[in-house]
Amino acid sequence: MHINYKLQDRFDLAIFIPMIILVIFGLLAIYSSTYNHPTASGNFQKQLVFAIVAIIAFFITFSLPQQLFKSFAIPVFFASLFFLLAVLVIGKTIYGAKSWFGIGGFGFQPSELAKLGTILMLAYWLTYKNRDINNLLDIGVALAIGFVPIMLIMLEPDMGTSIVFAIITISLIFWSGISLFGLFVVLSPGFVVFASLFGVYAFTAALLLIVAALFFFKRDLFNSVTVFIINLSAGFFFDYAFKILKPHQQKRIASFLDPSADPLGSGYNALQAKVAIGSGGFFGKGYLHGNQTQLRYIPEQWTDFIYCVIGEEFGFIGSVLIITLFLIIFLRLFKLSATAKDKFSVLIIIGVLTLLFSHFAINVGMNLGITPVIGLPLPFLSYGGSSLLINMVMLGIVMNIYRNRKLHT
């Protein structure tokens, strides 16, 4: 077998080939779940167009000069914040969330752009000059960069995407070399806010725990008091923010916290998804022959439940193949993060890896019934143009870093 080493040196086929195979599987599964559907039968053609556009965008990103991405960080981040604000005012409501702009027959989801913006901005901020990630102020700004889009996306409300943003923010701070005390400062307000949702007693108990931990760390008085005040105000601020939310938004947060509440009948969907995958067996029921899929037991299967189409029609072989392809991409990104020479590039790669992995884990986990039902698309496979485009652009950036990896000293 002849391998073009020159090509591999500049273009990482170990990322590109699995990505293309995943997109093709996605198209096959979308076709199977929509081709005789009364209202969604056009989705295959639409996704095909999206895929072509996304591949073009991938190659454009790949060939741009690398220095450009650093200068993109601020404009892309603030543009995405602007779109996130705008969508709350003029967005279209789809499935109860105001997260779309309608342009002609197509829609655009600004939270997808915000993923790119937030990763670029965090990487930019965390590597700017001599940033000390264990300095309280620097941690605070880094958290704020993640926190603003999270709040805006929670208002849509899109809980799944908010969670992904939180994971990205924390993992990039984590990767920047935060100390145990720093990690405590980062995670404790989230803990207090979460506790405050369960009433005054839980809130007080959480604050007492924080005080105990502060004694354990034995920091100076100023630092300890500051951390305590941050926690206290996070609790109060969240309480205030919760009250100004509209009743239906409050209800959504409440039902998200209470796993026994099942407002959208998601338990039914999850059960049907499991039946579809389990009944697929080793070889699957054959393409276009899965009765769970073809009899439309799972509503909107082409979005968040696309994995069970593959599970049912391509069986264990197909399902494991999909996981393997993802794992190849993840391990490859992981390896690149060690070879990239500058800190900015490393954080970008880790951000992309975290984003793709958290989508993958939450979505596959939900389909297999091992994580709660949280609506997130499966990267490269689920129907949806914005998500496909941004995912490909992000891998394009990573490939760009790969192409230029030897140019740095």
């Binding site: 984590f174 039946v275 986990g365």
Partner: protein, 605 residues
Amino acid sequence: MDDNYFGSYFRRRIVFIFMIGFSAVSITQLFNMQILEQPSYSEKSDENSVKPIYQTAPRGVFFDRNHKVLVGNKPSFTLRITPSTYDKKLTPYIEAILGTSPGYIDRILKQNESYSKFIPRRIAKDVSFKVIAWYEENSSKLHGVDYIMETQRDYSFGIIGSHMFGYTKEIPMETYLHRKNEYDIGDNIGFGGIEKTYEDYLRGDKGIKYMLVDSKQKTIGRYKNGEEDQTTVKGDDLILTIDKDAQSVAEEAFKDKRGAVVAIEPSTGEIIAFLSAPQYDLQDFAKVTTNEVWRDLNNNPDKPMFNRASMSTFAPGSTFKMISAIAALEEGIIDTNFKVTCGGGYQFGDRYFKCLHVHGTVNVQTSIEKSCNTFYYTLVNKIGLDLWSKYAKKFGFGSKSRIDIPEEAAGIVPSNDYYNKVYGKNGWTKGFVISLGIGQGELNVTPLQLAQYAALFANSGKSARPHFLKGYTDTRTNQYVEVKPQTYDIGISKKSFDIVRRAMYLVVNGAGTATNIKSDELQISGKTGTAQNPHGKEHALFIGFAPYNNPKIAIAVLVENAGFGSTIAAPIARDIIKAYLIKGNKEGNKNLAASTNIQEERIAH
């Protein structure tokens, strides 16, 4: 430092273990499900698939203001065909038992071809019990055919009310695409009228029964013994402002006529009667509406589908004279001493505007009582177009009343800008304005606006947005929720109103144009009118209110092509007023008589 700072061994190991670990857990779970437990999942999928059966909720019922039923529900059978298992050889037998023309089933199946073959299609609604009995006897041979029980609108409560009630029909594709979360293909949705405006109250919540079905969609039991089922919640019942007696008198009077009636409770804006004649049969829409029914309705020269009561516009004739009177009084242009001598018409430039009689000397009250045109030609010329249109707009003309049904026209009140736009800056003369004084010319109003105008006279400038909904019973909480009227005041002095109201009283009870409906019991005040009709005989108009001293009802009656207002329109108005005010209850009659006595005294002063 770099390596230590960035990818420390510890951090890298955590992330690596996490990725490999999750993949391993997922593959283990896949192995469990697809290989170890595959037989049990397969069984579930092939034989025990859970299928949600949606049950339509009965729509909310309409009651009148005295809680008498206006529109109800009745159970009915719907026959369905599921194309994936249907054998076309059965078609002739089914068509024969349904009594439809050959090709009927093919046509309906073709109409819905784009839907999944697994979704059942409604072939016939409201089928007779004979068909169901035949189906039960032969069901083993009738693959792909089934029937369901649904509820259907029941219109057998004595009144028709087609234009205000509106009808329900299967949801059209475009609407469905926007409201996928709430509706399914084949669901009914309100079309027009109250059914449309209050759709969200009326439709209720669909029930879901989770059934276990085999791969051929045959039901074999209930999923989890019905634990996860959702019960149907009936739609909210609406208490309408309509008075069934008054509405029924109106419908009776218009059986062989074309026209419209709107009656309003002046202080609250509650609509007591609302009629557009001729009406159409709402029952026709309750079935699968055939193309013939549509064609007949659309081609009928009497336009039964057109809502005349709130959408037909015409020049209101003499009923509009009070606008000029009230504007002139309120602006201090005239007082009760102002007099005009009517010699049978009015010379303006080189045009002569005619009056119907030679009225001699008339003041503002006698001009309304006798309907003298000369007085108003003179008056509108004094007031000028700007003030005149300002006052017409104050009374709600030229804009929609925001009544709670979707069908409504705004009409036109001409102004300087309007004439400039239509005829160009110098293309029109003051002569155009003269005819506006007697409600002719380019003025367009609806019967609904005229009724609201009458209500404003009845209550001296204070009224409320006209509406049909008095309240509703929230099915979930079982509580009655009252709808508060949205009141407003047009800000004209009681003094001006008193003068004009007195004149309107004299139209019926003095020596005026509608003395034929004089009634001591009802104390009606009003004004007749004749609306010019460019297409044929003039339309008769009457607007009024009663009782004079403490008005409980204001009304506008339009009878198309009936000539002069007092002979045909006024008696209809009187009968409707009577049906509303006098309820066969002697106590009530006495009270009414007592209050009219007081009025007599006041008028005498």
